[in-house]
């Protein structure tokens, strides 16, 4: 035995270490799995396997035997392997339902030039299209209209608009508070301000949304005199409120962890407290402060309840901050319950989810890269 005892020497420590390792690994696996499952639901849109055309070439049920399996599968909105699990009677019934559905489409709609368009194609998802009855090409999200319009542009603009307003409101506010609390405030004040701000993060976002809806919207309307009571501005400010405690808390930690010796050096050179905070402490804490802002962005773009309640939910293409708007998240929350499982609306909503995931992931990745660069520069 002697010293050659390996992990038998401290079995509990060995088990604890492996346990922690497993937990951390499973967290990574979880993120990956979530992306996988959300992505899988959205995959048909990415592959072009969804068809939302109202008027489709109907394959009569009597032609079932003559139709190639892959064509049939696509026609019935399933995969070839799924198709093989169904017996002939079920398939025939499904085809008859399709026939009936096609016959039930009102004549007025059937004659629309857009009725036979597959609106889940990329050109309809991203580019403006001149729909029947419109005088110019427009970006429109109207998934439950007679002709399903799935243009993503208004939602993306809505998300970006509210997020940017939220950050423009939250970042200066929370950084100023963080600098004040960590560098300038007398300790007795610090004891009150810090928990006070962090308490904000304990407020459920639905409550904050209700506050924005009931109080903030009217209050800001009195000040700015905008026309639509619920709009991107109101939603953005409320979003900012949800992000303030997060940004504040991380930035404050970063600023506080700047060594006291830097502060002393600057003060001994004759810098004022304010100059020290701004010129020495803030640059030294830049990576942490940047991380705080990136996380704040993720919080804002992912927040659902507040925007759902306070933004007015109008999917319009407009960069005016006082127009009502609608975000990706609010759209998913509002429409997922009514979307037919496996249908094109359902698929498109999952695609929105995948996009959100990808955007936050990319932002965090970018944030991480910038943070490393900032750290290296010292």
């Amino acid at each position: 035995m002697g010293i050659h005892r390996g992990h038998n020497a401290r079995p509990l420590e060995w088990i604890a270490e492996k346990f922690i390792f497993t937990v951390s690994l499973s967290a990574i696996a979880m993120v990956f799995l979530i992306f996988l499952f959300v992505g899988r639901e959205a995959l048909p849109v990415f592959l072009g396997d969804t068809d939302s055309a109202l008027v489709q070439t109907v394959i009569p049920s009597k032609d079932m035997e003559k139709t190639a399996p892959d064509r049939l599968a696509r026609y019935l909105g399933m995969s070839v392997s799924e198709l093989k699990t169904k017996d002939a009677d079920t398939l025939r019934t499904m085809m008859e339902i399709r026939e009936e559905a096609a016959n039930e489409v009102p004549a007025a709609v059937r004659d629309d030039k857009d009725a036979s368009a597959n609106t889940t194609e990329w050109k309809y998802l991203l580019k403006a299209h001149q729909w029947t009855g419109y005088t110019k090409p427009e970006h429109i999200w109207q998934p439950v209209s007679a002709i399903h319009k799935y243009n993503l542009v208004p939602l993306v603009i809505g998300s970006l608009k509210t997020t940017l307003i939220g950050l423009a409101f939250a970042v200066p506010l929370s950084l100023a508070a963080a600098i004040y609390v960590s560098q300038l405030a007398p300790p007795s004040w610090k004891e009150w301000i810090k928990p006070g701000i962090e308490f904000l993060s304990g407020i459920p976002s639905v409550v904050l949304g209700a506050f924005a809806f009931l109080v903030l919207a009217g209050f800001l309307q009195d000040i700015f005199g905008y026309r639509y009571r619920l709009n991107a501005f109101v939603a953005g400010i409320a979003l900012g409120l949800t992000a303030v405690p997060l940004i504040f808390s991380i930035a404050e930690d970063a600023l506080t962890s700047v060594p006291r010796s830097y502060v002393q050096a600057a003060l001994a050179l004759g810098a004022s407290k304010w100059q020290t905070a701004w010129q020495v402490v803030l640059p030294a804490a830049a990576p942490g402060v940047f991380a705080a802002i990136v996380l704040g962005f993720g919080r804002c773009i992912g927040e659902t309840m507040v925007v759902l309640i306070a933004s007015g939910n109008a999917s319009v293409v407009s960069w005016d901050i006082f127009d009502s708007t609608r975000s990706l998240t609010a759209t998913i929350a509002a429409e997922m319950a009514e979307a037919v499982n496996g249908g094109h609306h359902y698929r498109v909503l999952f695609m929105l989810g995948t996009m959100l995931f990808a955007v936050t992931f990319a932002t965090n990745l970018l944030g991480d890269a910038v943070m490393h660069r900032l750290k290296k520069q010292r």
């Binding site: 007398p186 300790p187 060594p259 010796s261 830097y262 002393q264 050096a265 600057a266 003060l267 001994a268 050179l269 004759g270 810098a271 004022s272 100059q275 010129q279 020495v280 640059p283 030294a284 520069q377 010292r378």
Partner: protein
């Protein structure tokens, strides 16, 4: 490599005439300092002379660093600190109501126990103080950066990498950079709080040589735990014990013929 010079036998030292005739610069009169209700400095009177090195020695916790920080009012930053008595620099009471602490700290520079360069480039570390006090001219800053680095005996080692990070320097180099940063704004007095205690012997020698060089232009007050260091570099030595100034005299006198029993016990290593 610099040879390590052993302290010469103190008995052989002859007091240079300049030591006695130097003009007084800092005067403390009955300075008392309280942390809350506990008295950390007990009625200290001292007169520190111009362009000499004055060492503060004494066991840990005797108040020598606290007293040093009275001269640039760094104690103001600690909560619950109260100072009574008078502290004059060049005849002006630095605790008077109308004193601009920023101007004071420009006159009284400080070097800390642990080297604390900013996480910026070597150049910016020195330029920071200049910009702070309103120097904007690039060529003027360039000149001061070079002269300060030369003054701190660091120029030859860093002249090719002025714009790389100061944190890449060795401990001794960082401490000399901090000295260069302090002298760049041309203070009258430089306070040093155990500037070599975290350094290896060779780096310590360089700092000590530097201090002897700097006293031609600056008045230096240095806190040290190292009694040999005090004998090597200082002209006057003050011995502190539990918040009191026990004895203050020429360094040669303190180390060879102290007037007080406590001083003798400390400098001969019987306690401390």
């Amino acid at each position: 490599m610099a040879a390590i010079t052993l302290p010469s036998d103190p008995v052989d030292l002859v007091t240079p005439p300049g030591l006695l005739s130097a003009a007084p610069l800092i005067e403390a009169k009955n300075v008392e300092l309280f942390y809350g209700s506990s008295r950390a400095l007990k009625g200290i009177d001292i007169t520190i002379k111009e362009k000499l090195v004055t060492a503060f020695i004494g066991p840990s916790g005797c108040g020598k660093s606290t007293f040093l920080r009275c001269f640039n009012r760094m104690n103001d930053l600690i909560d619950n600190v109260r100072i009574t008595g008078q502290c004059l620099i060049g005849g002006e009471d630095i605790y008077a109501k109308d004193v601009d602490v920023i101007e004071l700290r420009k006159r009284v520079g400080m070097v800390f126990q642990r080297s604390n360069p900013f996480p910026k480039s070597i150049y910016d570390n020195i330029a920071y103080g200049l910009r702070l006090h309103g120097t904007k001219d690039k060529s003027e800053i360039d000149g001061v950066v070079e002269s300060s680095l030369r003054g701190a005996a660091l120029w030859d080692e860093v002249k090719d990498r002025l714009h790389s990070s100061a944190l890449g320097l060795s401990g001794g180099q960082q401490q000399r950079l901090c000295i260069a940063r302090a002298i760049a704004i041309r203070p009258e007095i430089i306070l040093m709080d155990e500037p070599a205690s975290a350094l290896d012997p060779l780096a310590t020698v360089k700092i000590e040589e530097l201090i002897l060089e700097l006293k031609k232009e600056f008045t230096i007050v240095i806190v040290t735990h190292n009694m040999q260091q005090a004998t090597r570099i200082s002209d006057y030595t003050a011995f502190f014990y539990i918040g009191e100034l026990i004895e203050y005299d020429l360094t040669t006198k303190i180390f060879t013929n102290p007037a007080k029993k406590q001083t003798e016990d400390y400098v001969t290593g019987r306690f401390g």
